[in-house]
Symmetry: C2
Subunit: 367 residues, 2 copies
């Protein structure tokens, strides 16, 4: 029998997580602190999250029998990456309380639907237009202007499935790389910096948000998150209000990350939203009493949300590829060192991160 979604999962209960990467691993560790058990379901049998949980399923995300057994074994379900098939999530949601919901997931899986949704809430975003065909792509570029980026609507991450459009391009050959995948053209923004807001919404609609970090990328991968971002008080409040409107409109439950471009004239444009815990929120593990991972587990489990206050400023830096080989040197520094237990170091692969704390300030210290 499907439990009432209003019943919290008590200590000793089990949360199921679809996906077994570092986000799932850190979710599992946060759940453990609350006395909750975790069942991880991943299609990779050496998933990092498997090391730290009681129950593991290694199976495809469309394996109905394994999914049914998984649902049977848990009290509530969530996911740690947004490329879970939304049909899988919808099927699981019929069995057990499943958060975030399949609709929110489906929306954030499609860049065009997501941007239409944001725009529909009258929240500013970058200029964009859909591009299903080559002629549509040409039209889209006229509408957005250049420089722009042609992106696949689905399954992109860390800069994969993206091509720069400068205006003097061989659009036909670029478009061919899509291999028929639906696409979107987005105008490149000449922003001052990027920041992100990690928000959380509970089953009963309570909302919380952490302070925004400034995010510094290199080769399309997050390198560093620096908290607090150099936002005015007004900008911070606006970012939280935008995230709250998005979460409310989606009837969202769990942690939601909203990435912003801060323009040179101080405006906030939503770049994209991620229906999950986010790399730019890892600093909350050390700088807050309740991390983004614990907040997500609390929301999914129907618990009260925790305090989002931070007691320190923080700088989080990712360890990418072979940078994690340097663990002995990093272990000597006054940092919190996190290694994700991945068996194989690959270029561009997120292997771990380090967080430094410094005393709390309203505005960020100069670098």
């Amino acid at each position: 029998m499907k439990p009432e979604p209003c019943d919290p999962v008590p200590p000793g209960g089990t949360i199921g997580i679809l996906g077994g990467g570092q986000l799932g691993r850190m979710l599992a560790l946060a759940a453990a602190r609350l006395g909750l058990k975790i069942h991880v379901y991943s299609d990779m049998c050496d998933a990092p999250a498997f090391d730290v949980v009681e129950n593991r399923t290694c199976a495809k995300y469309d394996d109905q029998q394994s999914l049914a057994a998984f649902a049977q074994s848990v009290d509530a379900i969530t996911f740690e990456f947004e490329n879970v098939p939304s049909a899988t999530l919808a099927m699981l949601a019929r069995e057990k309380p499943t958060y975030p919901g399949a609709e929110a997931l489906a929306l954030t899986q499609d860049r065009l639907a997501e941007k239409d949704f944001i725009t529909g809430l009258t929240i500013p975003t970058t200029l964009y237009a859909g591009a299903q065909t080559l002629p549509e792509a040409r039209d889209a570029i006229v509408r957005t202007g250049v420089p722009a980026v042609l992106k696949t609507r689905r399954f992109g991450y860390d800069g994969k499935g993206q091509w720069a459009i400068t205006g003097a391009d061989d659009l036909e050959s670029i478009f061919a790389k899509l291999k028929g995948a639906p696409a979107i053209v987005e105008r490149l923004v000449d922003f001052a910096f990027e920041c992100s807001l990690i928000a959380v919404r509970s089953r009963n609609g309570a909302f919380g948000a952490y302070d925004c970090p400034e995010n510094i990328h290199g080769e399309h991968i997050l390198r560093r998150a620096n908290v607090p971002a150099p936002l005015t008080r007004g900008q911070s409040q606006e970012a939280k209000a935008i995230a709250a409107r998005i979460a409310e409109a989606l009837d969202y439950v769990g942690v939601l990350a909203v990435e912003f471009f801060v323009t040179r004239d101080g405006g906030l444009l939503v770049n994209e939203i991620a229906p999950r815990v986010h790399n730019s929120g890892h600093w909350t593990l050390e700088a807050c009493l309740v991390s983004q991972f614990e907040q997500h587990i609390r929301a999914v489990a129907g618990w009260p949300l925790g305090d989002t206050a931070r007691h320190s400023n923080a700088v989080m830096e990712n360890l990418i590829g072979a940078e994690a080989d340097d663990w002995q040197r990093l272990a000597r520094q006054p940092v919190a060192l996190h290694l994700y237990g991945k068996n194989e170091i690959r270029p561009g692969r997120k292997m771990g991160h380090v967080t430094r704390l410094s005393p709390l300030s309203e505005t960020r210290d100069p670098d």
Copy 2:
């Protein structure tokens, strides 16, 4: 082949932990952050630490075959409670690097040997005398004076195996309760307060120590640890120096807790030492970048020790027995909530703890 003790266990390696209670669970969670795997060996098949680890053995602590297989499966070994048979530890130490060593464990398992050792280092402790027989007990009480406490030399914890001696006692009937177990008489100290020092020593002799909390007990169980304790700078330095001498003399590797009585004239008396992570050090999870649990794992794994600095003041309170039923209220407070995943609530059982942080101060704020 037994590896050289100087080789660190690299990320991806496995640490074996004897004992599966909350300390083992928190050690396992700390190891996970470093990308290390954990194999827990416990004689209780519902051990809380089993929920959060890759490999589990449920077997008796003298089951040679299970112990051999356990040793085979790990890269280094430690324990989370001091009543591990020291013969078991000695056997395991022949197979794999095992820390702390069997000698340190054996010493701290025997209150009389421990006090003789402390005294031999010319470190002040309470007045004490061994009491193997009833006449010896009478003599011991004459030597220590009253009020005093008669304690079993071995296997006591949280006030179990202890009897008050006021001077007007029926010593014969009290002594009978020992059922022949070797005992010790300790003079009760009229102390100002109790505090403890959580120290760590690495395989290569590096030493670190956290600031001392003041410990408040109720019914012989730690209720609260309040950091920093109201010690003078000189007392803090003395406490660290004492712990360093003890660790050095034992050639100790891992986390060591030294409990002190602070007398009304400002002296420090060693009450007892624990060869493990300690309940009074749980606040290090939130108030430091590297917790006592991670320090212990680092020491056992041959890693560099981490920073012991704290960025905040902290108050840790245990959740005993039915207090953990109150988790929904506690989850709303601005605290770090820890629940240990124990299946059964029993009176006096440590079910979890909460930690509050406040801004750093050299001396403690008044309560």
